[in-house]
Symmetry: C2
Subunit: 202 residues, 2 copies
Amino acid sequence: MNEVTGAPGTSRPGGRTARVREAVLRAAGDAFADKGIGGVDLGEVARRAGVGKTTVYRRWGTVPGLVADMLAEMAESSLPRARTGDLDADLAALASLILATLTDARQGPLFKAVIAAAASDAQTAAALHRFYRVRIDEWSPCVDEAVARGDLPAGTDADEVIRALSAPLYYRFLVSGDPLDEAAAARAAAATAAAARAGAYT
Amino acid sequence: MNEVTGAPGTSRPGGRTARVREAVLRAAGDAFADKGIGGVDLGEVARRAGVGKTTVYRRWGTVPGLVADMLAEMAESSLPRARTGDLDADLAALASLILATLTDARQGPLFKAVIAAAASDAQTAAALHRFYRVRIDEWSPCVDEAVARGDLPAGTDADEVIRALSAPLYYRFLVSGDPLDEAAAARAAAATAAAARAGAYT
DNA sequence: CGCTTAACGCAACTGGAGTCCCGTTATGAA
DNA sequence: TTCATAACGGGACTCCAGTTGCGTTAAGCG
């Protein structure tokens, strides 16, 4: 009759519970990275984590639920943005950061898995949007600073510029399958800067 | 001992076989559109299509196999490109076409499902890349014509321009969840044109 | 330090997705 | 029109992802 009990892991989050969570998230990342989102079930994650199958099902329930928890974890360990005082250099740094993330042997497949899950699951989609909200808020000030310096037209939408920079890289990554390399990142940064200076994002 | 027999449907493709294929592809599109790629099994597709479960499993085998067949079908019924003789108008037309496709009640969820499947299945990914190859080949001439008219710098990569136009729309659609409307399409077209004129895609 | 109970984990169970067998339908060719 | 067989369809069967029950461990509090 204990009706106020929340989700498992909320009321005694210390010690063993924390260790289990850490092991499961790590194992889940590994599993998604080598089998993709579709080929993994929670039983396998439990095995890899050295944890009881029941525990994983009870705390996370479904693959999207687990993915959402992983994203929340990742949002917190997000890298600080560059601060070079130069728009082109800042955008190039962000493009390189995105490139590095997407081509990383572990993070790349994980992102692919997460975005795929978000396509068919509202909970994962919400977690994903929150993740990018955090990233954009972190980086958009470099655009505002460029506006303040007079390097970009007044009224430029900073968020839109950041998205415009990210978009071509994600498009290659998810849709077209074209090569994802430094040249692509540099081109994305240059094109975004040119369009922004021309006032396309006001 | 008939070892030369190909996949089912290749040797007697007329009449009933063709009707079954049509019914299954249509039912699959409906199912993916309302439940997403993950929530559909071939048994359900068979039920919706009014066709034996065995038939669907025998001819398509797996969900990605079915998706690949749908994409092949869609690539053939691709719309012809605009031919206005004006770069800005051509790009705006393509942006609107992409917008219409992604926001369509039936095609939008279907594309989401297909791209998600491509993230974890090589066969689907290959079919998807082929599909976009066709689309890009259809539209890239409008960029080449702009170069010929002197409206864009010589050496501009036409494919890259088309991808740059598509990218922001797909990014919103798949990743960021930001609104996908005429304003976004117009901005994508304008930004791409500006960057291309500045020589960002040479 | 001892008690309560949240959280874990093993093992047995269940339901449904995917497979298999075999009889039926109807295509395509002679 | 007839015939051989490609393709379909119903239904029984299998196998395993996900559930349930219950005993065990250890977190958190006094």
